[in-house]
């Protein structure tokens, strides 16, 4: 009824190639932005920010980054946790070395540093493919965690081996440190996520994104039609690393505040982000959001039901959580291997025809 192209005429080229060609989609997008920027910051409280919204926003950035690499370019990576650690430690070193520079710059620069490191670990992808590459990225995961654990320079020789985020403000409002307001945490993450989403969406539908897709579908064929595998693969690694670095920096400085590298950025984190993009949908920016929301909400929900609702003790609930998460992943893969994004696409196709079946 409302959801269709007909009657919506584009008169200029920019209007013709806009991100959301359907009017309804466009308004929905603006509505989401308005709610996210103008309504939620005024009603958010500490519990919602810390348990759900901030982790969701940060993981969504990481998921977008990983989705560029795995979903669009087809290079499976299991090193996400280690790469997020690079972002976190880069941010920490910058924050402590240049206290007068705004943290916004620090987060961007740590994204850049992570991009460089990820590109370095992406170099073998020119020779190694498929699962061999996936396992090779584990080398990055274990090496980086070990490095941040052992080399005292990275944690400024602190006795505990932890890194702690000092207080930093943006426009006079604290965004890091223990005294930060919930809404400030939420806002800074939201700004970065919006940036990441817009950039990723536009990159993936441009020429670079098409090169990545060509490499993913078959790299030899792509090379024959004139895609340079070196630049395509490494640009995917670099851009993916940039987003993952930003998410790692935010995860450390805004969300956790204090980080022990093996605990916060271990291999579990790599799998968690990979789950997000598989459940959300490979090769879809919306899928990254949906998957991140799903994987953040699920444990909170389970905990509320099992511990809060049924009154079972936490150890038992933790075991059940493992079982349910594992089973849900399997059920999801069997029911819809292309993830939540595919369900969304099917729903939109149906909406377009509704109420007439053909």
């Amino acid at each position: 009824m409302f959801y269709r192209e007909s009657g919506d005429f584009s008169e200029t080229y920019p209007a013709d190639s806009q991100t959301f060609p359907i009017k309804f989609d466009r308004y929905r997008y603006y509505a989401v932005l308005v709610v996210a920027f103008l309504i939620i910051p005024f009603i958010v409280n500490d519990y919602w920010a810390n348990a759900i919204l901030v982790p969701f926003l940060i993981y969504a950035i990481a998921a977008i980054g990983l989705n560029i690499l795995v979903g669009y370019c087809g290079q499976v990576s299991l090193g996400t946790g280690g790469f997020m650690a690079v972002g976190a430690y880069a941010c920490y070193k910058l924050m402590t070395a240049f206290p007068d520079v705004s943290i916004m710059f620090h987060i961007f620069i740590s994204g850049g540093i992570t991009a460089a490191v990820v590109t370095l670990f992406g170099l073998p992808s020119l020779r190694i493919k498929g699962f061999y590459l996936a396992v090779a990225t584990l080398a990055a995961q274990f090496f980086l965690v070990w490095l941040f654990n052992r080399v005292a320079w990275f944690y400024n020789y602190s006795a505990s081996g932890q890194i702690n985020a000092p207080d930093r403000a943006v426009f006079g409002h604290l965004v890091t440190g223990p005294n930060t307001d919930a809404w400030a945490k939420y806002m800074i993450c939201l700004v970065f996520l919006t940036f990441a989403g817009i950039v990723a969406r536009n990159l993936t539908r441009g020429s670079l994104g098409r090169k990545w897709s060509a490499i993913r579908d078959m790299d030899i064929a792509a090379e024959i039609i004139g895609v340079n595998p070196l630049s395509a693969k490494l640009s995917a690694f670099a851009i993916s690393g940039f987003f993952i670095g930003i998410s790692g920096a935010l995860f450390f400085s805004v969300y956790l505040g204090a980080v022990e590298v093996g605990e916060a950025f271990g291999i579990q984190k790599s799998f968690l982000v990979l789950f997000m993009i598989i459940i959300g949908g490979l090769g879809s920016v919306f899928g990254s959001f949906a998957g991140a929301a799903f994987m953040v909400l699920l444990p909170v929900l389970l905990k509320n039901v099992l511990v809060g609702g049924l009154g079972w003790d936490t150890a038992l609930a933790a075991h059940l959580e493992f079982i349910i998460v594992g089973a849900l992943i399997i059920v999801f893969l069997i029911a819809e291997p292309h993830g939540l994004a595919q369900l969304w696409r099917v729903a939109k196709e149906k909406l377009r025809l509704w109420p007439f079946p053909h």
Partner: protein, 333 residues
């Protein structure tokens, strides 16, 4: 008389070889499944943990799901109060592993035939999560001692027999008896597996499936039977690995992490090669111990074992992308 430093190096290498045998054992389970079904089974390590947990549970007569039952019904049960002999319990656990293989095949992978490898891989990660929670729920998550009568501790005989090699500071090679037993078991297991694959009807069918699914189907081999068989074999190998590691360092969550140790072994040896898994295991076992001894501990602050194997495999793969013994990768457009 040889210099002490050299002898210590040799001792480190011998211990590395023993550790390598255990890595190879886990890698073997991976290779079996990967060859026959193209599934990269991340859950192999958790299968080892689950096998070992079940073995301890049956031997001690624990009530399965005791914690859950107690929470729901408010009862207080935990043990049946009997002890099952080790041999009988191992047989029972083998039955459980076959049941597990059947369930995995019928409830998961039968529905995922024809999906992309990454999807299958993710499904095994889901399976790993599930089994980790399930094992803990069934037998609770305390660290358990596994004692099925394998001798442990340093072998005095080897220490005394080799002490003449060095000077006054050298008391002979210290080698754990358990690791000797583990190596022997691994050797026997590999021989049995190879004999099974070469000389039995099922083994031939298994190799046919590994070679070409469609051709195997067309001569009347049941794929689902072979897949259950392969998962059972992998479960059996996992059980052996679980018993060895469990006897060495207790049955606990960290046991499932040996899967991560087996991955670089696979990369080195090639995903599709059984000899590759064994040779790769030995190289990784020796390599990481020697590296830690010579470079890691003195210069890099130690604990290099976590990543050395991966780096070795990574560098190696750049020069030989299919691993040592893997099938040559031929790509066509």
């Amino acid at each position: 008389m040889l210099p002490d430093q050299f002898l210590f190096g040799v001792e480190v290498m011998l211990n590395g070889l023993m550790a390598g045998v255990l890595y190879a054992l886990v890698a073997l389970g991976f290779v079996l499944i990967f060859k026959a079904s193209g599934i990269f089974n991340y859950a192999q390590g958790v299968m080892a943990l689950f096998g070992a947990l079940t073995l301890v549970g049956i031997m001690d007569g624990q009530v399965p799901f005791a914690h859950l039952i107690n929470s729901i019904f408010g009862t207080d049960v935990h043990h049946f109060g009997w002890h099952v002999p080790a041999f009988l319990s191992i047989l029972l656990v083998m039955v459980v592993m076959v049941g597990l293989a059947w369930c995995v095949q019928h409830f998961i992978f039968r529905h995922l035939v024809g999906q992309e490898p990454i999807i299958l891989f993710m499904a095994t990660i889901g399976l790993a999560y599930f089994m980790e929670g399930f094992g803990d729920l069934m037998w609770n998550s305390e660290i358990k001692k596994l004692d099925i009568g394998i001798p442990q501790g340093g072998s005095m005989w080897i220490e005394e027999a080799t002490s003449f090699l060095g000077g006054t500071n050298f008391y002979g090679f210290f080698i754990d008896k358990l690791e000797i037993v583990a190596s022997l078991v691994a050797v026997v297991l590999v021989i049995v597996l190879v004999a099974f694959a070469q000389y039995t009807k099922e083994g031939r069918a298994m190799r046919a499936v590994a070679d070409d699914h469609q051709a195997a189907l067309s001569v009347g081999i049941s794929l689902s039977f072979i897949w259950v068989l392969v998962w059972s074999l992998a479960g059996f190998v996992a059980l052996v690995a679980g018993i060895m590691w469990g006897a060495k360092s207790g049955v606990q969550f960290s046991l499932s992490l040996i899967a991560l140790k087996a991955l670089p072994v696979l990369m080195l040896g090639g995903f599709t090669s059984i000899p590759g898994a064994i040779v790769g295991g030995l190289i990784v076992g020796v390599g990481e111990k020697i590296f830690e001894f010579l470079i890691g501990a003195p210069f890099l602050g130690g604990a290099t074992e976590n990543w050395f194997a991966y780096m070795l495999a990574l560098v190696f793969l750049v020069f030989r992308p299919q691993g040592l013994f893997g099938e040559k990768i031929i790509e066509r457009v």
